[in-house]
């Protein structure tokens, strides 16, 4: 492990909504160049974990590191603190870090969404250009008076290149919302890539795809990992895809990590099988 460069490190992250603990003391690590899968039954807290990493939610407790630098840190306060620590335990150390999602994206983490969230009334090109906005050197005045011409041209050139590389160029001027489902999924990945990320989080990229499309997607994910020098962390339900491409797998159930390891280890892990199929005693009779 020591020779590998850690990209994402999640430490003891807990996310509590009222009385529901959606993610419970999650700890995991993603290293450079890896494809890591996060699996688990419905409602296990996978997407919540993603939302904590991307800043949509502030975790109740825990720390997240990106490239070994602190990205998110939160500690419970008031009543919650007592719940976590007991009455007179020691204090937490370290300042609270709670950046908004855009700051996290700017640092180099991009994501896609489980239920596609494209800018559906805009063209494919504009969808990609929105993602390019963040890194463009411009301000409202230069943009309004077209003094950022060279930047605009660069953005468009890069967007066209990206679309060409991902076989989406033919849809360039189509309205995103009118595209077929599979293309929309691809466009979401393209849009995420346009933010020039180092770590890409994919939330169920193969949801709603048939086996043929899933197979294509498997190749596609490997391809973009190599082409853009990415690290990929994904939530997925399609076991074929997960077993085929992931270097390691984390299994989540009721907010807790119940297993982690190489694909072949997970496939034979008794706890995992029980989590997915239910414990045999319950089923029997």
């Amino acid at each position: 492990m020591s020779n590998k460069e850690s990209v994402l490190r999640v430490e003891h992250v807990t996310m509590q909504f009222g009385g529901v603990v959606a993610v419970n003391n999650l700890t995991l690590e993603v290293n450079k160049g890896e494809i890591i899968a996060l699996i688990g039954p419905n409602g296990a807290g996978k997407t919540t974990a993603f939302n904590c990493i991307t800043g949509v939610y502030e975790p109740t407790n825990g720390e997240i590191y990106f490239n070994n630098k602190i990205l998110v840190r939160n500690h419970p306060q008031g009543k919650m603190k007592r719940m976590y620590l007991g009455e007179d335990e020691g204090e937490y150390f370290g300042t609270i870090v709670a950046p908004t999602p855009d700051v996290i994206t700017k640092k180099g983490i991009a994501r896609t969404f489980q239920n596609i969230r494209l800018f559906s009334s805009q063209t494919v090109m504009d969808n990609v250009l929105v993602a390019k906005h963040m890194r463009a050197k411009q301000n409202p005045f230069t943009a309004t008076f077209r003094l950022n011409h060279s930047e605009e041209i660069r953005m468009r050139k890069e967007a066209v290149e990206l679309l060409k590389e991902l076989d989406l160029y033919q849809y360039k001027d189509d309205i995103a919302g009118s595209l077929p489902y599979g293309i929309q999924r691809k466009l979401e990945i393209a849009r995420a890539l346009a933010t020039e990320p180092k770590l890409l989080l994919l939330d169920e990229p193969a949801a709603g795809m048939n086996p043929q499309e899933t197979m294509e997607l498997t190749e596609y994910i490997k391809e973009i990992r190599d082409k853009y020098d990415l690290t990929i962390f994904m939530i997925e339900h399609h076991m074929d895809l997960v077993m085929e491409i992931s270097d390691r797998i984390y299994v989540l159930d009721f907010g807790k990590t119940i297993a982690s390891g190489l694909p072949e280890e997970i496939a034979t892990n008794q706890t995992v099988i029980e989590a997915y199929l239910g414990v045999t005693e319950d089923v029997g009779d």
Binding site: F17, N51, V56, Y57, F113
Partner: protein, 293 residues
């Protein structure tokens, strides 16, 4: 400032606040269920004033008060059916624009039907009787208003927390789609919300206008906005919050007027709003909601 002057103004504030609270409850209930600001609510309240003028010209007050309340409820339900129901699946902004359209329509209609001249509100003797306590002289409506408000709020909370209809309302405000799947007739719940909201607005209008003596087509728009502020102050969606917010807005308005800054009595409410949005955006009784991603 003498102590009796203080109490006199406090009573006035409570009375005005009571009327505001009853209107604010209508805003907060509709917002709780439909997630929209019912911009027309203030104008419904204004129309209730006109209903009272015309019904009391023809009937004794015992009969005309129910007529006013029923008329206002019918108006509210008709508005909901025509202007809001067809837009149930439309973006929230369209519904709010529709509400603004209704508000605009009611103001112009009142202007057309009853002219822009202020009309004098009928006097109900039993409400207008003067009481004297030491140096303080108040009309009966001033004393009754806060009491009616508190009693009605209490009744409404019992309804919401302990009846089947109340349970359906709470379910709809949490998640309309799921409520529908569970067999709740969402449209009927929404209609009932408007019935209750408009009924309270009618009572509020009687209390408000009896103290103020005249009605004109625009006398609903500003109080309406203030009552929405009251609802935000108390925590939007919370009925006791709307009541407390109503009292706060009413008392502060009277306080500002008594201090000699009557020009700012309207503006102060909105200063209060911006202030609460900075320190506690969820209002006094509000809860934080998280959107699902």
């Amino acid at each position: 400032m003498t102590i009796s002057y203080f109490f006199q103004q406090l009573l006035n504030g409570l009375s005005l606040g009571g009327a505001y609270a009853l209107i604010a409850i209508g805003y907060t209930m509709v917002y709780g269920i439909l997630r929209m600001i019912n911009f027309a609510h203030g104008d419904v309240f204004m129309m209730a004033g006109y209903f009272a003028i015309y019904s009391m010209a023809a009937f004794p007050w015992q009969l005309s008060l129910p007529i006013v309340i029923i008329g206002t409820i019918v108006l509210g339900v008709v508005i909901e059916r025509i202007a809001y129901k067809p837009l149930r699946t439309a973006p929230r902004m369209s519904v709010m624009i529709s509400a603004i359209g209704v508000s605009y329509f009611l103001e112009n209609l009142a202007n057309y039907l009853y002219t822009a001249m202020p009309q004098s509100y009928p006097q109900i003797d039993i409400l207008k009787q003067i009481h004297t306590f030491g140096d303080i002289t108040v009309s009966r409506v001033t004393i009754i208003a806060p009491i009616i408000t508190i009693v009605l709020t209490f009744l409404l909370m019992t309804l919401v927390n302990h009846t089947k209809l109340g349970m359906a309302m709470r379910a709809c405000s949490k998640d309309q789609d799921t409520a529908r799947i569970m067999g709740i007739k969402v449209d009927r719940v929404i209609t009932m919300t408007f019935v209750i909201g408009c009924g309270l607005a009618a009572i509020g209008s009687i209390l408000y206008f009896t103290d103020r003596n005249t009605v004109q087509p625009y006398s609903g728009s500003l109080p309406g906005l203030k009552c929405f502020v009251a609802a935000v102050l108390g925590g939007i969606g919370s009925i006791p919050g709307a009541m407390v917010g109503g009292f706060i807005v009413g008392i502060s308005q009277i306080a500002i007027t008594a201090a000699g800054y009557s020009v700012f009595s309207d503006a102060f409410t909105f200063v209060l709003l911006i202030f609460i949005l900075i320190i506690r955006p969820t209002g006094i009784f509000g809860e934080k909601a998280t959107d699902k991603v």
